[in-house]
Amino acid sequence: MFRSQNREPDFENLKQVLQKKAPPRAVLFEFLLGENKEKRLTGTEFRSSSEFDRVVTTIKAFDSGGYDFAPIIVRGLVFERKSHFVSHALTKSLNEGSVITDRQSFENYAWPEIENCDFSIISKAASYLHPKAKFIPFSHDGILENVIGIVGYERLCLMLYEDEPLVSAIFFEVGKRIHSYFKACLSYPEVGAVILNDDWGFNTHTLISPKALRKYVFPWYKEIVVMTHDNGKYAILHSCGRYDAIIEDIIGDMRFDARHSYEDGITPVETAYEALKGRLAVLGGMDVGFMARSGAEEIYERSTRMLRRSAGLGGYALGSGNSIPDYIPDENYLAMLQAAFDWENREGGRDDPN
């Protein structure tokens, strides 16, 4: 157990952050941890031989790391696409998919059915969850990501101009399935929030225009967020890339509670927090490249500065800008966690530690 026994998981802490309030102690947020990081956090309890084992390992890793929740994915809703496997490659192309190229391939496409998902894994795994912790489900990619996955990015860009009815039909088929997925997740009392994970941009622009996003993508998320709030739960957006052209859609129209994914090359989390505080909770933000390349001390200091910056108004949880891949050195990741643990030991976490 990496956290101290005194730091018990309690979703109420994260809930305070999602309500844009100051939590009683430093709150941690992470979307995904690399397998080796989960091994480091769980030690001898690490298991990965079945899907259920992997879910339990994630629960234990997040508990050990001092988080108030565990992310969970219910397998089964996978939009099949072509994959060009290259053994030594570290990335993939957004042009890879391309199984739907025209109306005929759309009609012939084998759409995944929500019935393939066994949502009971949420209640079954809940017995491993700390009694005060909650699950935060996410999906196998979001609406835009899945459409890009099955159409291919450049083909989608051209299709937006050349076959708008087909584009609408594809987004509808993907959107209604993602909506059903989260509807099912939200029915479980062990779920406290949802992560709607869909990368909408890259470093200088959104992937498609804000106008196109408003037409094909955002209406679905607006409905999912309403459904989430109607269930008394919280909606977290995980979306990479530049977001300034759509931030008012995220806050005012779709009414997300929090946003996750920040990069120093786009908007450093410190700048994002100053711009968004009080309107949208800011989660994570320690840039992944910064965490990979800097020393542990530097990461500890920046984490502490961020906790200090947000201490008064709240609405912030400490974490990485995206996820903790295994190429981030263990000591760097642990330095960030330590900054949160040390912060709460300093007079309620409100005073300047220096």
Binding site: V86, H88, T91, S93, T204, A212
Partner: protein, 215 residues
């Protein structure tokens, strides 16, 4: 509006079919390929680049504009070759070894092609030997290398070293770009230039051309 303006606007307004039809009209009227290239195609793509840089256009608009550009280019290219009209320069481009990311690289290729350069696209996952071989065979003015991740960008210095080892470093300028790269990193690894996006890549190459012409 002249036909040249009509063609330029067809590119800016992302209308490939109209661009193709207008190019046919221009050629029927005896307008030269060089004039079409210099008066319609290059200024049209420059405007598309400007709109992209200013956030009015997004990748779909650039891709469809590039399709309009290609519709024109495919008709005038044989005439340019036949007439001995020189291209502005030759650029070998590729995504670094270990990286299959191609969208940024494709955008840069299209914008440079639209600016009048000949492009030799080596594709993705290109290793140092392939870059060196392409330089030997194609004798380009520039080599442009793209990377998406910090874990793949570390292969770029190996390419620069291989170009140096092959004795080709003084014959070609190395440009780098991609999400994790910065001007500081480009300088650190000994690249000649860095551009944060496709329209900046065009500006960079033009500036370097001017500097070279001035020396």
């Amino acid at each position: 509006m002249t036909l040249i303006e009509k063609l330029k606007n067809a590119i800016i307004d992302v209308q490939p079919k109209k661009a193709e039809e207008t190019t046919h009209e221009l050629l029927t009227q005896g307008v030269g390929a060089a004039e079409i290239l210099n008066q319609a195609l290059i200024p049209g793509m420059d405007e598309v680049g400007r709109l992209f840089k200013e956030g009015e256009y997004y990748v779909p608009e650039v891709l469809v504009a590039a399709k309009a550009m290609n519709a024109t280019l495919s008709l005038i290219e044989p005439l340019l070759v036949q007439g001995g009209v020189p291209r502005r320069g030759k650029i070998v481009i590729g995504t670094i070894e270990g990286d299959l990311h191609d969208i940024g690289k494709n955008l840069v290729s299209m914008m440079l092609k639209g600016a009048g350069y000949a492009i030799i696209d080596l594709g993705v996952d290109v290793n140092a030997n392939q870059f060196v071989e392409a330089i030997q065979n194609e004798q380009p003015d520039y080599v442009a290398i793209s990377a998406l991740l910090t874990s793949t960008m570390v292969n770029i210095p190996h390419v620069i070293q291989s170009i140096r080892t092959a004795g080709l470093r003084n014959r070609v300028r190395v440009l780098v770009g991609g999400a994790p790269l910065t001007q500081a990193y480009a300088e650190e690894i000994g690249a000649d230039g860095y551009a944060p996006d496709a329209s900046e890549a065009v500006s960079l190459v033009r500036q370097m051309d001017q500097a070279r012409a001035g020396t």
